[in-house]
């Protein structure tokens, strides 16, 4: 008599049975149309999942993800050393627990930046509070207000020239916005604000709201967000330029 359980049927579908058991299951399926129907349905599910998602394997990697690897690889050695130190100090649990908690104020960063971009980038008369002509003053002023030394990236290599910057209220204190413009009048804004000192560094992330693309990341306790109505690869190229100059 058959002693084929449901578990055997699943194991049969997933190739988990040895040859002997497989034959027994096959014999059972030949006698029991109900079991054969279920097995066929499960096999169809498997094939369907592959049909739905196998195409992802052939997709080109998104630029941000590719960049994450590159950037991470550069930091790999230092990361490994740091991890080793923490291990040695025996604070493993605390460290990883911290690593796992999401940074709450990071979540709102792309939205704040996108809103600030949408509000100020179309401004004709007063796009900035302090113009590029007074760059040294701008840098000093915003560094003082954010209570951290800021750099003003030079993006002329990517075709964008500094227009100037302004101070903005963020949810948790002040934020700085630097505005850039290219020869066609397209504008980008770089939004910077202080995050919690413990904010862990992240790779580039991308967000898209109301036609505005935002690349954002955390570095050295600061949150950066570059916003613009550019195609994603173009915006990424500028974000990389910003990141390189700030690092």
């Amino acid at each position: 008599m058959d002693d084929i359980s449901e578990a055997d049927l699943h194991a049969y579908v997933d190739g988990e049975l040895d040859r002997h058991r497989r034959r027994e299951v096959e014999a059972h399926l030949a006698r029991c149309p109900e079991a054969a129907r279920r097995v066929a349905a499960w096999q169809a599910q498997k094939e369907g999942l592959q049909a739905l998602f196998d195409g992802v394997l052939a997709e080109p990697l998104p630029p941000a993800l590719e960049f994450a690897c590159r950037r991470n690889r550069e930091k790999r050695l230092w990361g490994a050393i740091a991890a080793g130190l923490w291990l040695a100090l025996g604070v493993l649990v605390g460290w990883f627990a911290r690593g796992e908690s999401p940074t709450p104020s990071l979540a709102s960063l792309p939205q704040e930046a996108a809103v600030a971009h949408v509000v100020y980038a179309p401004e004709v008369m007063h796009p900035v509070e302090v113009g590029a002509a007074e760059e040294a003053h701008l840098k000093k002023w915003l560094s003082r207000r954010l209570n951290t030394p800021l750099k003003v990236p030079d993006l002329t290599a990517t075709g964008f020239k500094l227009l100037g910057g302004r101070l903005l209220p963020a949810t948790e204190g002040p934020a700085a916005q630097f505005m850039y413009q290219d020869a066609q009048g397209r504008r980008l804004t770089l939004y910077v604000r202080v995050l919690a000192a413990a904010a862990k560094e992240t790779a580039f992330r991308y967000d898209h709201r109301d036609g505005v693309g935002v690349f954002y990341w955390v570095d050295g306790g600061l949150g950066f967000a570059l916003s613009g109505e550019l195609e994603r690869p173009q915006l990424l190229a500028v974000a990389e330029a910003v990141y390189k100059q700030l690092d």
């Binding site: 194991a11 369907g48 592959q50 930091k75 690593g99 796992e100």
Partner: protein, 171 residues
């Protein structure tokens, strides 16, 4: 081979799994990114010679479960995004019917509890052995099998329900 390059080799499969898990291309890539970051932070903990792929899937499981717990995947936001472009391997016999069936499958997948979806995909999409899945998820093999059984059963009844709806819509 450099470890970074070896990590990079696994990205396409991590992406496929993440896409099926979250049903959303952007969220999936965020999940992959978070997983890679965690992998690079924890490289010191990885034992050379052990299965790098299984380790990466374990990390992704942990990241995903944290995100599920934090409510980052409300059910109604699962938009069933599969891969782009035409799918290879689908018999051309009745493309419309097949497309409907796949859509129902994607919808059914979305409605499974996250823990069942994980097991179903690790077995059915990744082709991992029950034992490997148990290790990745940190659960006994028996639990893998019971979740798999529930997932398949539920998926089947969800799909049959969808099919019923489709028929009624056609009438």
């Amino acid at each position: 081979m450099e470890l970074g390059a070896r990590l990079a080799e696994h990205i396409p499969r991590l992406r496929r799994y993440a896409r099926a898990l979250t049903g959303d291309a952007a969220r999936a890539d965020d999940l992959v990114q978070d997983t890679l970051e965690r992998a690079l932070r924890k490289l010191a903990l990885w034992r050379p010679g052990s299965d790098l792929r299984a380790w990466l899937f374990t990390l992704m499981h942990n990241v995903y479960m944290n995100q599920v717990a934090a409510g980052r995947y409300p059910l109604e936001e699962w938009n069933g995004e599969a891969s782009e472009g035409p799918q290879p391997g689908i018999p051309p016999a009745s493309p419309q019917e097949e497309a409907l069936r796949l859509r129902d499958l994607a919808r059914g997948l979305a409605r499974l509890p996250a823990e069942q979806r994980e097991v179903l995909l690790l077995v059915g999409l990744e082709g991992l052995r029950y034992e490997e899945v148990a290790k990745i998820l940190g659960i006994p093999t028996g639990t893998v099998m019971s979740r798999l059984s529930r997932a398949r059963q539920r998926l089947q009844s969800l799909m049959e329900g969808e099919r019923g709806l489709n028929l009624r819509r056609v009438k």
